[in-house]
């Protein structure tokens, strides 16, 4: 998996590309931890180029959102492909994360209330 990072206003965007599996979820965990360590608590993860997600990736996201909620930050996801969205729906994660169909909507929502 490739992870690229960009900042838009007070939001850090992580663009993921490839598979979020047992191996690459560790990279995702490291990337999120680094952002949080720098006191940025507003993160958008763009899934538009993710074709596969396993439980290891879901665990990283759940751990992250538990922490981010505690520090009153925001974690949102956007542009999930249908099969990846189906996995989020199956495990009930669609109720735990704000999920947007495109990046613009997500950024608009994240920047509201700042």
């Amino acid at each position: 998996m490739q992870i690229t990072q960009q900042a838009t206003g007070s939001t850090i965007i992580l663009n993921l590309k490839g598979r979020v599996d047992t191996f690459s979820s560790k990279e995702l965990d490291r990337a999120i931890s680094k952002i949080l360590k720098n006191e940025n608590h507003q993160i958008l993860i763009d899934f538009s180029e993710v074709d596969f997600i396993a439980s290891s990736g879901l665990r990283v996201l759940l751990t992250a959102v538990k922490y981010i909620n505690q520090v009153k930050g925001k974690l949102a996801l956007c542009t999930l492909k249908p099969k990846v969205r189906e996995i989020f729906d199956l495990v009930g994660f669609s109720n735990l994360f704000p999920i947007f169909s495109n990046r613009e909507e997500a950024l608009k929502e994240l920047s509201s209330g700042n």
Binding site: F23, S55, K83, L90, V91, G92, N95
Partner: protein, 138 residues
């Protein structure tokens, strides 16, 4: 192209990477749908990761046998390992209605195996776990 493929894996997580390429060739040459491929890849990833990570108390080398066979209507996946007895069918499912604070970070892998399979059977014979998974192709 063969309608059947067998793998023998060591109890090392890196083996998950090694089987990706031959698996992709097998899937492509048998013209499986994206949906079926996604499901089988997820079942394999979650099952093998569980066996390798939790099945063996010592670091001693073990072999895990995997076979995939395609018939007209279904894909049959069999995973055989000599790790600790573990029946995923009896594993408690996570509650998807719980809040973020209440949700546990574990248990999702087995839940996904159950959801991705159209039919799941387990039995223990001798020192071996046998997991038999069927995925409809029609």
């Amino acid at each position: 192209m063969s309608k059947k493929i067998n793998f023998t894996l060591e109890n090392d997580l890196l083996e998950l990477k090694r089987i990706q390429s031959p698996l992709n060739i097998f899937f492509r040459s048998n013209h499986l749908s994206k949906d079926v491929i996604f499901s089988i890849e997820l079942i394999l990833e979650e099952s093998l990761k569980n066996i390798i990570s939790y099945g063996y108390p010592s670091k001693e080398k073990h072999e895990i046998l995997v076979s995939l066979e395609i018939t007209n209507k279904e894909l049959l996946l069999i995973i055989k390992d000599d790790g600790k007895a573990f029946n995923p069918i009896n594993h408690k499912d996570p509650d998807p209605t719980k809040t973020i604070e209440e949700r546990s970070v574990g248990g999702l892998g087995v839940f996904l195996i159950k959801k991705m399979a159209d039919n799941l059977n387990y039995f223990r014979k001798g020192n071996f776990n046998h997991l038999i998974i069927k995925k409809n192709l029609t």
